[in-house]
Symmetry: C2
Subunit: 269 residues, 2 copies
Amino acid sequence: MNNKSIGVFDSGIGGLTVYKALKEKMPNEKVVYLGDTARLPYGSKSKETIIRYSLENAEFLLTKDVKIIVIACNSSSSYAVEALQKKFNIPVLGVIEPGSEAAVKCTNKKVGVIGTSATIASGAYAKIIHEKSKDLEIISKDCPLFVPLVEEGWIDHPATRMIIKEYLEPLKKENIETLVLGCTHYPVLKDVIKEVLGDDITLVDSAQTTAERVYHIFKSLGWLANTDKNRNDEFFVTDFPERFKRVGEIFLKKKIDRVLIADLSLKGE
Amino acid sequence: MNNKSIGVFDSGIGGLTVYKALKEKMPNEKVVYLGDTARLPYGSKSKETIIRYSLENAEFLLTKDVKIIVIACNSSSSYAVEALQKKFNIPVLGVIEPGSEAAVKCTNKKVGVIGTSATIASGAYAKIIHEKSKDLEIISKDCPLFVPLVEEGWIDHPATRMIIKEYLEPLKKENIETLVLGCTHYPVLKDVIKEVLGDDITLVDSAQTTAERVYHIFKSLGWLANTDKNRNDEFFVTDFPERFKRVGEIFLKKKIDRVLIADLSLKGE
């Protein structure tokens, strides 16, 4: 098992924040990343559709000899973790559970959760946070314009600031202590969000906590990579590899050698 | 042929502007509408993917006994019209050609075209406008945030106004006489766009011109419906029928009886 890969999928490019955290924690692990860019975004789609897409993504990764599947997409983590755990006999981990755990650790009374419409409608964060700490008060808000703003590259733009203010002012008024960035795109807006909310509110980004969780799973199973051979990570998308490469290099602040097209209809090839 | 239906597809809900124009022009025609909401938006996807999705949508409509296929989606009209015309032996019509014709009629020197990234990158409007009038100067601009703003319902919102200004101010400075709204969502923002641009610029919305074109095709072929029996239009989506019904009723300003799920994998059923 040790030198098999970590399989990561997202609806698109946002999951690269999780990829980055995994590589920082475990530089010797090889990662195979799949971005389902032909069908993004997942955030506006139904539970059934998200589960179907997630199963297809996982099946593709399984053809690439992976030892774990990390769902680096909040919408998919909200709905599909159990379906994938049932179907496949390797560990499957989403970002919601680790993100919730981090939030519970930093909060005494009131926590805010933001995400896509699908993530917020699923109530997944609220459910798991309550399981861990039933007295916490949770204020949730979907912010559907954040992903298009990030993808347009309008990070520090007056319109972005105005939209952030409109979405988050009510949460600030509620005196939340912690805000969970429940979408892998949102960390890109971290600085502007921090400016709008002020220094008293802690921002939780689940990528790092998820990477730590993967490390502990491997450690407990004895599955950590035992090679220091330089292995090239692999990047697949279902559409537009050039765009993924270009925007991905901005996300990662380093070069991506190549991005290949994944044909999801060729299951089990 | 006469009492077969008009097949209309779009990536989602925007094509209802075309549906509405068709029914206003030809109230006796029955329309079967398909919104590919499981895979929307098309505007950020590649040519190959858009063609594949469009072929699947058309194949579904053909199982519903249609006499024409109207592509009520600018991204799909930009890339897929020819592929569909080659594959199927009924008329196939997109919105780009009728929209371009209307633009040429209202412009002496300079025309602006706005749309999704896919539509603008395709150069489809520019190509067809130049075929019709080679001396017109064309200024194109993609406006990727307009669709999410419309879907969020932020029509008359300060942030929307700021974003419209940022996208369109350069076109205004270029002294365009006409602006083609090259995306079926954009007519919803018509009033605010008019406010930002002023009264001197004519807005062209291709839905109406497309409906007129369909009428003339039917007339020339003798295919106009010859029944005045009240026939119920049919609405299909690939995901989230409830959402389509809710937002669709706002688009149409009337009740939609029911919206069914279309399973595109059941081709030719």
